[in-house]
């Protein structure tokens, strides 16, 4: 079943076409990789899918419904969540607060409930807190719940960002270079984490440079170059694709392998 689908997705900044008529499909329950050289438009696609940019042309369908042009918070409510290439946690807030903010769009109280601490407020808060504690526990961050996000080591910040994204109960999770800055062991742990996320029923689309991660967990991979999709397929197919080697992997990488 198609969960996310882009049709002829295009965006131009000034004269530059950053993403050029890209068709992409992510099925429910899959882990899909999006690779390509820096500046090839991967993150830009993420930004369009999450509503930060509005596409110049083309469509984005989520669960069959168009979402292009919608505001980011609306898209999050629909069930898409993401992490960022350069970690964007709420740095001076606690780990717990970060996750609770992730719960924001699933909480039902309004401003006046908040102001007057109504029953609904108390109920929703304790509900959200329970969700947050459960998530932090599963991902091993519970002990650090009162720590300020800024004080976490790099790897845990990455992890917290994923937990925060999961707190919004997404159907689709977009991960932007989650392994960046991780050593091989950490990357291994990350791969396990991503599988764990998928097993919770969350579909994953990830941008990643670490080929080991990409090749290791992605069921399908799409390759971008200069804003265009130049290939799509399984890890093996991509690794042997001539155009991909030329544009991204490099000939040596292949011969070296």
């Amino acid at each position: 079943m198609r969960l996310l689908e882009t049709k002829q997705l295009t965006i131009r900044f000034g004269g530059l076409t950053a993403v050029d008529h890209v068709d992409l499909v992510v099925n429910k329950g899959e882990i899909v990789g999006l690779i390509g050289p820096n500046g090839s438009g991967k993150t830009t696609i993420f930004n369009m899918v999450t509503g930060i940019y509005t596409p110049t042309e083309g469509e984005i369908l989520f669960g069959g419904q168009p979402i292009h042009g919608a505001k980011p918070h609306v898209i999050t409510e629909r069930g898409i969540s993401r992490t960022f290439q350069n970690i964007r946690l709420f740095q001076s807030l606690s780990v717990m607060e970060n996750v609770l903010i992730g719960c924001h769009c699933r909480m039902k109280q309004n401003f006046f409930d908040d102001l007057l601490a109504t029953k609904k407020f108390l109920h929703e808060e304790s509900q959200a807190r329970r969700t947050a504690i459960e998530l932090l526990d599963v991902f091993g961050l519970l002990d650090l719940q009162h720590e300020t996000a800024r004080n976490l080591p790099y790897g845990l910040q990455r992890k917290l960002e994923i937990v925060r994204a999961l707190a919004s109960k997404p159907e689709l999770l977009l991960l932007d270079e989650p392994a960046a800055g991780m050593n091989p062991q950490e990357s291994l742990a990350l791969m396990a984490l991503i599988r764990q996320v998928r097993d919770r029923g969350v579909t994953v689309l990830l941008v990643e440079h670490d080929m080991k991660v990409v090749m290791g967990i992605c069921e399908r991979i799409a390759v971008l170059n200069y804003g265009r999709k130049i290939a799509e397929g399984t890890a093996a197919e991509i690794q042997s694709n001539e155009e991909v080697i030329q544009a991204y992997l490099g000939r040596q990488a292949k011969t070296g392998a």
Binding site: P37, R150, Y154, A179, A180, N183, P184, G256
Partner: protein
């Protein structure tokens, strides 16, 4: 000529470098490889004085430069071509190159060097009056390197020169790096594309989360199991 001992750097409370040591001899290309956030760029920025070391020592040509200001370090002959090119977007190509020669007073030498840069990068000569912000990524990278060369450096620090460039251009840039080296300028190269970097370099150091975990001849590193696994995607 460049010697780094137990270099430590903090961003606020976060320790970015946890005691890095390495050296570079006259005439060498040395590369630092490692993942994002491993501390490669931090190392370069600390050498060129943009960041302050919290501990450790950097010596260049026998002189301690750990606490010198960036301008003094440029004066000593270290040129740093930063990550992301960082050309001056509202200045012309020529003005950018002039800025590269900011610390120099020998008008004649500057003129010669500019001609040399134009020889190395003919495309820049064509675009000499164009505003740098309107150049393509590859042209900007060439301009950034050219600008670095305008200081007539005794040591060139290159930070991710292949970043975001098309493979064809990457090859071209590496060709140029090799040329510059052959003309006698030692280079400290930071590269994500470990394969290419180790191809062109004499020696290499592998950085992981702020520490050197491996070092050796580039050829040896290319065949190292760990390097193959972690950085060559094999």
């Amino acid at each position: 000529m460049l010697n780094i001992e137990n270099l430590q750097v903090h961003y606020g409370r976060i320790e970015a470098l946890k005691g890095v040591s390495f050296s570079l001899a006259e005439g060498e290309i040395v590369t630092l490889i490692g993942a994002n956030g491993a501390g490669k760029s931090t190392t370069l920025k600390t050498i060129s004085g943009l960041l302050r070391a919290s501990a450790g020592k950097i010596t260049f040509m026998g002189r301690d430069i750990t606490t010198l200001r960036p301008s003094a370090i440029v004066n000593m002959g270290i040129a740093h071509v930063p990550e992301g090119r960082r050309v001056f977007p509202k200045m012309t190509v020529e003005e950018n190159l002039e800025m590269g020669a900011f610390v120099r007073k020998d008008q004649k030498g500057i003129k010669e060097d500019m001609d040399r840069v134009f020889q190395t990068f003919p495309i820049l000569k064509e675009r000499r009056t164009q505003i740098a912000g309107t150049l393509s990524g590859g042209e900007q990278q060439m301009l950034a390197i050219g600008r670095g060369l305008m200081t007539r450096p005794r040591l060139l620090l290159l930070d991710e020169p292949s970043l975001g460039l098309a493979p064809i251009l990457v090859e071209q840039i590496f060709q140029i790096i090799d040329d510059i080296h052959k003309q006698g300028t030692p280079i400290l190269l930071v590269e994500q594309n470990a394969y290419l970097a180790l191809q062109v370099a004499n020696r290499g150091y592998v950085l992981e989360t702020g520490s050197v975990v491996l070092e050796g001849d580039a050829k040896d590193l290319l065949n190292n199991e760990h390097v193959k696994k972690a950085y060559l995607g094999e």
